[in-house]
């Protein structure tokens, strides 16, 4: 027992002390944080330049009817012809010129946007939307429908999902949030299994090619060496994972307080807005702004509704279970070959279930209750990834327990099998190993 502890601590310390570990530990959260912050930053920087667009409306319908936004301002030049505007265009302040022909009422293509650059999609769609709305109004009005009625029929539906938990509580949930968390955890498990599983394999190959393995196993049993390596690297993985979480949280909070101090206060506003809507019930919603805020607050609520204890606990469990299962197989491969280039033929059968998991994952996030989702979250080779995708949607406890139980049984089995291959393989040099050979190794007496 003392020997396995020694082996674990060597495997752990040599890896943690490596420069690459430090680099990964620092780079990882920066990348994660960047993944979350950069889109937010980009969104906040969205085109703050104010653009003026000249409107030459020969139909006369749209004068002062196209909505200005914060960044797009429309100016109506009705006294000028399009040729005049074109002549002065390069000296003018206009970003683009919108020409509307009188035939617009029956011909959709009777609108032109002139510019010396390619106008952005958002400008184009804003103009089209405003004009469509205006035309619709006009047509309905021409059928004698009152403007007030027109305003009142404009409706919005925003579904908020609420889960009834077993003890009768109501919990606000969000499919989008569950999907995002599911994806993230599934990918993270996949990534960890590959990253650290491959480290086990490389470690075994290193010992074999360095020829130190025979010295070690004259002191400790091969199984101790294999398990010591697997456990040591698992601890490296957990350390890295925890450091990443801590550092990511630190970076995100740091960046938030420095660059987006308004985010904190905005939260409070949202809650007020949300309460307001709750009192009034589902009503006509005119403005875009409060609706967006409502969505954000409901996402925040839903994000709060995920049981992070279960999520975190399951993540650690499925990471360790999946890692032990795959890590032991990786160790067996490492023992069976002489160098990394020979690993290909054995890697394939191990990689396939992992890749299948990722493919199935795309389906499972859409449909976490389907039979596919159920079975793939039970099969131990795919369950670590698929079950993690399902957990944010809520999984019955018996399914979780069954999946965990199966995983435990399988990794015990795979560690046992791998131990047998490992024991024989690490002492075989210079021979190319086939599957037939592996089968023979499995049947050798210890």
């Amino acid at each position: 027992m003392n020997k396995i502890k020694l082996i674990i601590s060597r495997e752990y310390l040599t890896r943690v002390k490596k420069k690459s570990f430090l680099v990964m530990t620092i780079l990882g959260p920066i990348l994660f944080a960047a993944m979350m912050i950069v889109p937010a930053w980009l969104a906040s920087r969205e085109d703050t330049e104010v653009r003026h667009i000249a409107v030459v409306d020969s139909s006369g319908i749209f004068i002062d009817r196209i909505e200005d936004t914060d960044y797009i301002k429309f100016e109506y030049l009705n006294d000028k012809s399009i040729h005049e505007v074109k002549k002065d265009f390069s000296e003018s302040k206009y970003y683009a010129v919108l020409q509307i022909l009188p035939s617009i009422t029956y011909e959709p293509t009777a609108v032109h946007l002139f510019s010396n650059t390619q106008p952005s999609f958002s400008i184009k769609s804003h103009i089209a939307n405003s004009m469509e709305k205006e035309l619709k109004y006009r047509k309905l009005k021409s059928h004698g429908i009152d403007e007030n009625i027109l305003k009142s029929i404009k409706s919005e539906v925003s579904i908020r999902t609420i889960q009834w938990t077993e003890d009768g509580e109501e919990k606000e949930s969000s499919t989008e949030v569950a999907m995002a968390v599911g994806y993230a955890s599934g990918f993270l498990i996949y990534f960890f299994i590959f990253l650290f599983g491959a480290q086990v394999m490389r470690g075994v190959i290193e010992e074999k090619t360095n020829r130190i393995v025979e010295i070690i196993i004259s002191s400790a049993r091969p199984f101790q060496l294999m398990m010591g390596k697997i456990v040591g690297i698992a601890l490296v993985g957990l350390t890295q994972f925890l450091l990443w979480i801590i550092l990511t949280l630190m970076i995100i909070t740091g960046v938030k307080t420095v660059f987006f101090p308004e985010l904190g206060t905005q939260n409070a506003q949202e809650i007020v807005v949300q309460d307001l809507f709750e009192q009034e019930g589902v009503q006509q919603i005119e403005e875009l702004q409060p609706q967006n805020l409502d969505k954000i607050s409901s996402i925040l609520n839903a994000a709060k509704s995920i049981d992070y204890g279960v999520l975190f606990g399951s993540f650690i469990f499925f990471f360790l279970g999946g890692y032990l299962l795959y890590g032991s197989l990786f160790a067996a491969i490492g023992a069976a070959v002489d160098n990394e280039t020979d690993t290909q033929q054995f890697m394939l059968p191990i990689t396939i279930p992992l890749i299948i998991s990722i493919v199935v994952m795309m389906n499972v996030v859409q449909n976490p209750e389907s039979p596919i989702a159920f079975w793939f979250s039970m099969i131990p080779l795919t369950s670590p990834i698929i079950m993690m995708v399902r957990i944010p949607f809520g999984v019955p406890y018996w399914e979780l327990a069954l999946s965990m139980g199966l995983l435990v049984l399988t990794f015990i089995g795979s560690v046992w099998l791998a131990g047998k291959i490992y024991r024989t393989g690490i002492l075989m040099y210079g021979k190319k190993t086939s599957y037939k050979e592996l089968w023979k190794w499995l049947r050798y007496k210890s």
Partner: protein, 306 residues
Amino acid sequence: MDILKTHNIEKKFANHVALDNVSISIPENSIYGLLGPNGAGKTTLIRIINRITAPDKGEVLLNGRPLQPEDVNRIGYLPEERGLYKKMKVGEQALYLAQLKGLSKKESLKRLKMWFEKFEIQAWWDKKVEELSKGMAQKIQFVTTILHEPQLLIFDEPFSGFDPINANMLKQEILDLKKKGSTIIFSTHNMGSVEELCDHITLINNSKNILEGQIDDIRKTYKSNVYEIAFNGETNKLASSLNPNYEIVEKTKANGYNAVKVKLHKQTNENELLSLIIPSVEVISFKEIIPSMNDIFINVVNENKI
């Protein structure tokens, strides 16, 4: 008293028999040569003694008791295929290997310091193994093999990779270890070092133990009654003075004199031979040819092939 005995060890691999009914007895405080051509089964036997692999049949007795898992701490093993973790520092690595053999950290440090001083390699402590030459790494391996002062030491081809100076130093250390009471199993192809160091040998060929015993006895058994005579005079004159009971097997030169190797057949002796040749030539030297271990090795292995 025999420190280690193997009884009828048998080990089969998928396609061949590695060891077939091998029994050896290693006397305490001896240097025991384990000889044999490549692929004979030496390494498998060593691995069985080290509990790296288990025999299919037979047993290994250490100090008269069946070998136990804890016994690996009393054995020091320097394998033929040996290496160290390249990226690890020399000191850390030596400490790790010593602790794996059951020494406490404190004790390991103390002994390592002593040996590093003795070999004058203290400066290597914080170097990575990949910065060392092969010979330097071998020294570290040697130190880690003997550090826990095992009762039984097993060296598999210990001299490969050492330059003559370091090889000589290693030889001295091995003899020293014997003086201090260790028993040493020594597997090699280098017959010169066998003659120099070993007391006992066993020769394994084709998974069988075909020759075992004290090295002096074996050499006596295999001597073929051949004498070398160096003389002043003509070879023909000497030849004509011999009767058919004596056969000249080789005509050579020795130290600038003519020489012949004569094989003595039955019912003759050295004195009679001398009395026959003394009248014809002036004898400079006369000695019995005792076969070298190299010759015995080649003879026995070849005989066994037939």
